[in-house]
């Protein structure tokens, strides 16, 4: 009986480890191989606090969580500077360093000999000494941790994590502070792993470095990948499968000496097979809900466009006030001058077209306005405020948004989520609010969903709300990109080749939508090479060449000039 209780406790502990690791690797796409290090730091901290400082169990647990969370957050910092595959090496390094410390800092950890005699927990005066007594506690704690992780994953915070996983640049352009999210999720994952570590230490009452090796990290990774990255229930299933299965191997009477490597081979095999044949794991991220998520109850009539887009203004031809002004902006790359004293003005409420030969500097101008690049000289003023030096997510919050030539959607998120994540001012993306203002999260979500639906209805994608973005056709994806852009509530929309890659009918459809936007107070700037689009949408048109604006006027005017024709079509 004791044996089964032991296995159950292990399942509880590993559930905490796998769900917290899933947050990191499955939800945020941060590929770290160092989870066992967090596990170990939590265990050692908790043990040392009780052994050397006589701390009570709850205090030791808290201490472990805080210390490990801080370490986790600190790891987030170098993680920001490296690309995905190099993060693995860095985390590998961290894992090995931590293991080295555990093994070699004899004064603190007694090295390989380990720490023995760790006291069993005493909670509210109840002595939890036997495995049978431990089990309900472990299950309760695992349940709480699972709930916490689940709530975080479902929250707006969790949604941004997934957006970061899918396309970091796009997430930034929507106003998300990547630094905050990455550091916070590392701290959170670390803190949760520490809970498991602390419980492990006070259960086995003996810990040594060998429980927290790279092998352990790999086991946790196997659990998450087999169960299903991006799905917490998958982690539960994976935990049960991978904790129970090797135990079942005992009945195969494999000699003890090779039992450990045998299990490792099993994990390695699982990794290779799953990654090759079933990368989504046993329970994929969207398996249960694909195509059916959060479709509104039939009966809800969605008013296309109402409040989500902003109020419908009485139709005016645009009031002509300058909204964004570039003055003498210069930008060079290496020896090449991409922008050469560029000056141009975008007037409020109008659709300004930007045309010019290749390399004229059009996309560079967009990059500068949105803060992805810094000008070498000149000023960019928006509503009287200088934009130089501001970061992309700051500029986004000021009300400027851009689309990308290559769309940059979030492919494995639903159409609806793609739009919701772009809605601004979501204070419930702050982790602290997720925890301490739960009811507000729920009501805010309802409002967000409503507005997102309206936007989808505006572009005509309401029926596809539950589908994954990657499953849409290309024209539909372009519409989704537009809806996501509108969701940012930005007043100045920079559209980079909105019609590219579309067949003539879809071009018409998207032009019709863009034409309506000034009615809602939007100011638009369009880069396009398809002159039909420019002729049909833009007035004024600005002609860029070699990094400067050489003409500006109505399309008919521009296209009547022989000099401009020479430049556009080459002499």
């Amino acid at each position: 009986m004791d044996y089964f209780i032991h296995v159950a406790i292990l399942i509880a502990l590993y559930t905490i480890l796998s769900t917290s690791y899933n947050l990191l690797i499955g939800y945020t796409g941060l590929f770290s191989i160092a989870h066992a290090a967090f596990y170990g730091i939590g265990a050692y901290t908790s043990a040392l606090l009780t052994l050397h400082f006589g701390a009570s169990f709850p205090l030791a647990l808290l201490g472990a969580i805080v210390v490990t969370a801080l370490v986790g957050g600190a790891i987030g910092v170098p993680a920001l500077r490296v690309r995905g595959d190099y993060l693995v090496i860095a985390s590998f390094g961290f894992q090995m360093i931590v293991f080295g410390v555990m093994l070699n800092w004899l004064a603190l950890t007694r090295g390989e000999g380990g720490l023995a005699g760790i006291p069993r927990p005493v909670l509210f005066g109840i002595k939890i000494f036997s495995p049978a007594a431990y089990l309900p506690l472990a299950v309760a704690v695992a349940g709480i941790c699972f709930l916490v992780t689940w709530w975080v994953a479902r929250s707006p915070f969790g949604r941004v994590l997934r957006a970061i996983r899918e396309d970091e640049v796009a997430a930034q352009s929507l106003g998300k502070d990547i630094v905050y999210f990455k550091i916070t999720v590392f701290a959170l994952a670390g803190g949760l792993a520490a809970v498991a570590g602390s419980f492990y230490a006070h259960y086995i009452t003996f810990i040594n470095p060998l429980s927290f090796t790279l092998d352990e990290s790999i086991f946790i990774m196997a659990v998450v990948l087999v169960g299903g990255a991006g799905n917490l229930w998958g982690s539960l299933v994976g935990t049960v499968a991978l904790v129970v299965a090797p135990e079942a191997l005992r009945f195969l009477r494999i000699p003890d000496a090779i039992a450990a490597p045998f299990r490792q081979i099993l994990y390695g095999l699982l990794l290779v097979l799953f990654v090759r044949f079933r990368p989504q794991g046993l329970i994929g991220e969207h398996s249960a809900t694909r195509g059916a998520r959060r479709v509104p109850a039939s009966g809800d009539k969605v008013e296309a466009g109402s409040s989500a887009l902003g109020t419908r203004l009485p139709h005016t031809a645009g009031n002509g006030k300058p909204l964004l002004t570039l003055r003498n902006v210069t930008k060079s790359f290496g020896g090449i001058r991409a922008l050469d004293n560029l000056s141009l003005t975008l007037e409020e409420g109008r659709i300004t077209g930007l045309i010019g030969p290749n390399g004229a500097g059009k996309t560079t101008a967009f990059n500068l306005i949105t803060g992805f690049l810094e000008p070498d000289a000149g000023s960019i003023v928006y509503r009287g405020r200088e934009l130089r030096g501001a970061k992309p997510h700051e500029i986004s919050r000021l009300g400027i948004a851009r689309s990308f030539q290559d769309l940059r959607l979030f492919p494995r998120m639903t159409v609806l989520d793609n739009v919701v994540v772009a809605l601004p001012g979501q204070r419930t993306e702050q982790l602290s609010l997720v925890f301490f203002a739960a009811p507000r999260v729920v009501s805010a979500e309802r409002e967000n969903l409503r507005r997102a639906y309206e936007l989808l209805a505006f572009v005509g994608l309401a029926e596809k709300a539950g589908e994954l973005a990657e499953d849409l056709s290309y024209p539909e994806q372009k519409l989704l990109a537009l809806a996501r852009l509108l969701a940012t509530q930005a007043n100045l929309l920079l559209l980079d080749e909105p019609a590219s890659g579309l067949d003539p009918t879809s071009v018409e459809a998207i032009m019709a939508l863009i034409r309506r936007l000034p009615d809602y107070g939007k100011t638009i700037c369009v880069i396009e090479h398809n002159l039909d689009v420019i002729k049909g949408l833009a007035d004024p048109v600005v002609f860029l060449n070699e990094g400067r604006a050489i003409a500006s006027g109505a399309p008919a005017q521009i296209m009547a000039s022989p000099q401009l024709a020479d430049i556009y079509f080459g002499v």
Binding site: G359, G501, P504, H529, N530, M559, D566, G570
Partner: protein
């Protein structure tokens, strides 16, 4: 007909760029393909060359179908491709670039062909040890042309050779293109954004818009810029 493209549909992933395009190139002809950015000109060349495969339609070369097969086979049969933006190996020297260009050429022939390239572009001989990435834009373009030339191709696919070059260099490059056509009897399908220059050297011209051909005719017929504004 050297090259015969029929109703080709092609694209990347979900994005369809060519919506049923047809064209022809005759032996020793210089044919220009113009059109707005994003119309699919580069995609067309890549599909003909074989780094991209069509979803529908046929591509025939010397009468035989070549669509769907690996581009290396096309290289061996005399189709050379000069991609947009200086198709060179930047970390390798000029000479090494040319040697790699001649990768599929019989060893005995390589020396002669390199000589021919140096004859056409003496600057490359001067700088044959220099790293290709450190050459100027114009020189890189000449190197890229030279790399295609060592193959003595029957059909040369050129993707915007004048891109990023100063006007006098554009002139120089297109003169070289004409010389290649005269000296080596190579047919050329030239995609260009510098419309006027392309029209000067081409015998026929196609205009592409949104993945289809919207006009074809003699270069003179496009002398009026009004027509061009309409077609782009």
């Amino acid at each position: 007909m050297l090259l015969d493209v029929r109703e080709v549909v092609a694209g990347y992933g979900k994005k369809t760029v060519l919506h049923g395009i047809s064209l022809e190139v005759g032996e020793e002809e210089i044919v220009a393909m113009i059109g707005h950015n994003g119309a699919g000109k580069t995609t067309l060349l890549r599909t003909i060359f074989g780094v991209l495969h069509p979803r529908e339609g046929e591509i025939r070369y010397c009468g035989a179908r070549i669509d769907g097969r690996r581009s290396a086979l096309n290289v061996r049969e005399g189709i050379a491709f000069v991609p947009q933006g200086h198709g060179v190996f930047p970390d390798l020297s000029v000479l090494e670039n040319l040697e790699l260009g001649a990768h599929t050429v019989q060893k005995a022939e390589v020396a002669d062909r390199l000589e021919a390239v140096f004859g056409l572009f003496p600057i490359l001989r001067e700088r044959h040890r220099q790293g290709a990435g450190t050459l100027s834009g114009g020189q890189q373009q000449m190197l890229a042309l030279g790399m295609a030339l060592v193959l003595r191709p029957q059909l040369l696919l050129l993707d915007e050779p004048s891109l990023g070059l100063a006007p006098f260099l554009v002139q120089r490059v297109l003169e070289a293109v004409v010389e290649i056509n005269h000296r080596f009897k190579t047919a050329i399908l030239l995609v260009e954004q510098n419309v006027k220059q392309a029209l000067q050297i081409a015998r026929r011209v196609y205009v592409m818009k949104v993945g289809q051909v919207v006009y074809t005719g003699a270069p003179e017929s496009l002398a009026q810029t009004q027509k061009l504004w309409q077609l782009f």
